[in-house]
């Protein structure tokens, strides 16, 4: 790890970290602070929900009880918006952290310094995980505080922990995937559009799969299928096997990315 590179790189990315964290924190605060009002309307909401097409409620992970518990309510935002947003942030940062130097032709400056490529890769990786995990932790901390304040005593914290562990795994997966894609593809392309598409694409793949049994198989191609947020399911718990597999895939993506980076020609 090179401290000089780390601090420069962290400073360079601080602004985007603050913006993205701010957005997910605002969403968290919003959804959790309206829970007390929603709870009062809980029965009316349930009636309204029952009128929606079944496929739609299934794909969104909503059922009768969703708006009666704070975690059910929170999850309609967490599993849908917050994790998708954090995943987009993580994968975009992953895709640009190394490729940006090549795109802006500063790689020539950095790679002619007395640093090995391994050192550069590891330092950038550390910055990358610091950024995506920071965004995750800031949001989690906000959620803990607001769930605690508005949720009262009946909060199932084990469900909350499972949700956030699944969320963290998805973020890590998309971080590594972003980095890997920037190694495989031309480093001068714009990655933002692609990562948005990938995250949304895999989210909707899972959402569509849940609407009907006949096409449920397409969900297998989405990480959201393995790390799910169906909190109203009484058997909802940490999917340990998925966590292990996702971590293994992450390591595989990182090792492959490093091997490619070590042998890469830095074009002018």
């Amino acid at each position: 790890m090179n401290r000089n590179l780390f601090s420069k790189e962290f400073k360079r990315n601080k602004k985007t970290l603050i913006i993205w964290s701010f957005i997910v924190i605002i969403l968290t605060v919003l959804v959790l602070s309206i829970f007390p009002y929603m709870k009062d309307m809980g029965d009316d909401m349930a009636v309204m929900m029952s009128k929606l097409p079944e496929g739609m409620t299934k794909s969104m992970g909503i059922n009768m009880d969703t708006f009666n518990t704070i975690l059910g309510m929170y999850n309609t935002y967490y599993g849908v918006y917050i994790i998708v947003l954090l995943s987009i942030y993580a994968s975009t940062t992953g895709a640009t952290i190394l490729s940006k130097e090549e795109k802006e032709k500063t790689a020539e400056f950095l790679l002619t310094k007395p640093l090995s490529r391994k050192n550069i890769f590891n330092t950038k990786l550390l910055v990358l995980f610091t950024l995506s995990v920071s965004a995750f932790l800031l949001q989690t901390l906000t959620a803990v505080i607001f769930v605690f304040v508005f949720g009262g005593e009946e909060v199932q914290w084990s469900v909350f922990t499972t949700m956030h562990t699944h969320g963290l795994m998805l973020i890590l997966f998309f971080t590594c995937l972003g980095l890997f894609l920037s190694m495989v593809l031309k480093s001068k392309m714009n990655f933002m559009g692609m990562t948005v598409g990938l995250v949304f694409g895999s989210y909707f793949l899972n959402a569509i799969a849940k609407t009907s049994d006949t096409i449920s198989w397409i969900g297998y191609f989405s990480p959201f299928h393995y790390l799910d947020f169906s909190v109203s399911d009484p058997s909802y718990s940490l999917n340990f096997a998925s966590v292990v597999v996702i971590l293994f895939i992450c390591i595989l993506l990182l090792v492959t990315s490093y091997k490619m980076y070590a042998k890469k020609d830095i074009s002018a």
């Binding site: 020539e108 002619t112 310094k113 007395p114 640093l115 890469k264 020609d265």
Partner: protein, 289 residues
């Protein structure tokens, strides 16, 4: 120990040739020129030596260490000026140069100020606001500041005004006296002739010759244009004249040979005007390589 030694170094980009069979030996303390037209492979070789490109085959050592294995250690002793300077736009020159210094464990930034005043560079301006020439100056300072043992300069004078070029060459001579090895790549022949001890000539990715500057100077070709008072009837050309061409009273030709012979011959003619020019690199290459 040699400063740079390459043996049959090759770099291909997929199928495309970058450089081929480059074998060079550069002594420590030498100023070594590297001349060739644009696209000949000068930058490719330099970028391979620096570890930006991975060589396809062959080997290269800098200060006795293998470039593909000890790049990190080797680069401590290298100052590199790229032909196109690209830095982090959001930084000022000062921030960039301090950032650079910290990679070499230098935390005393007084040398930045000293060099900036020599080159008249405003350190507070953002990189993005710098002109091409000022960016180049920032690049030159960056290559010198950590007192490297080997300077690799790729087209260093492009973008510098003549005054700055003079300052720059003075600094290079100081560096040379300090014992620094200088690898000087250029497509401008006169620069290389004035500065370097030896030079390699590269064309189409291959080294065509490595010559002492003296012998290169002997091969020196002049482009000559003479304007006659009246067209001579039987003009006897002296030896070494080629490609002669008449345009009215004006005669142009290329001359290769001792300058004294040419001047003697010219003094016997009835001339209104005479122009002796340095040929472009292209015509020298057409003649020798």
């Amino acid at each position: 120990m040699l400063a740079i030694q390459t043996k049959k170094l090759c770099k291909y980009y997929g199928e495309d040739l970058g450089v081929k069979d480059i074998s060079l030996e550069i002594e420590q303390g030498e100023i070594f020129g590297f001349i060739g037209p644009n696209g000949a492979g000068k930058s490719t070789l330099i970028r391979t030596l620096l570890g930006l490109l991975i060589p396809t085959s062959g080997s290269a050592h800098i200060f006795g260490q293998v470039i593909t294995l000890s790049g990190e250690t080797i680069r401590k002793d290298i100052g590199y000026l790229p032909s196109e300077v690209n830095y982090y736009d959001e930084m000022s020159s000062r921030e960039l140069l301090e950032y650079h210094c910290r990679f070499y464990g230098i935390y005393d930034y007084s040398e930045i100020k000293r060099l900036a005043s020599i080159f008249k560079l405003d350190l507070n301006k953002k990189i993005t606001d710098l002109s091409f020439g000022n960016r180049k100056k920032c690049g030159i300072i960056q290559s010198l500041i950590h007192k490297p043992k080997l300077l690799i300069m790729d087209e260093p004078t492009s973008g510098l005004d003549p005054l700055m070029q003079r300052v720059f060459f003075e600094i290079l001579r100081d560096e040379h006296e300090r014992g620094t090895t200088i690898f000087f790549s250029s497509h401008i022949l006169s620069e290389v002739q004035n500065l370097c001890h030896r030079a390699a000539i590269i064309k189409d990715g291959e080294i065509k010759a490595t010559e002492n500057i003296q012998s290169l100077q002997k091969k020196q070709m002049k482009k000559v244009a003479l304007v006659f008072a009246q067209k001579p009837e039987h003009l006897k050309f002296t030896e070494g004249i080629q490609n002669e061409e008449w345009q009215g009273l004006k005669l142009t030709f290329e001359y290769v040979g001792p300058l004294a012979n040419l001047i003697n011959w010219m003094s016997s003619l009835d001339l209104l005007d005479a122009i002796l020019e340095e040929p472009d690199l292209e015509s020298i290459f057409m003649n020798y390589y």
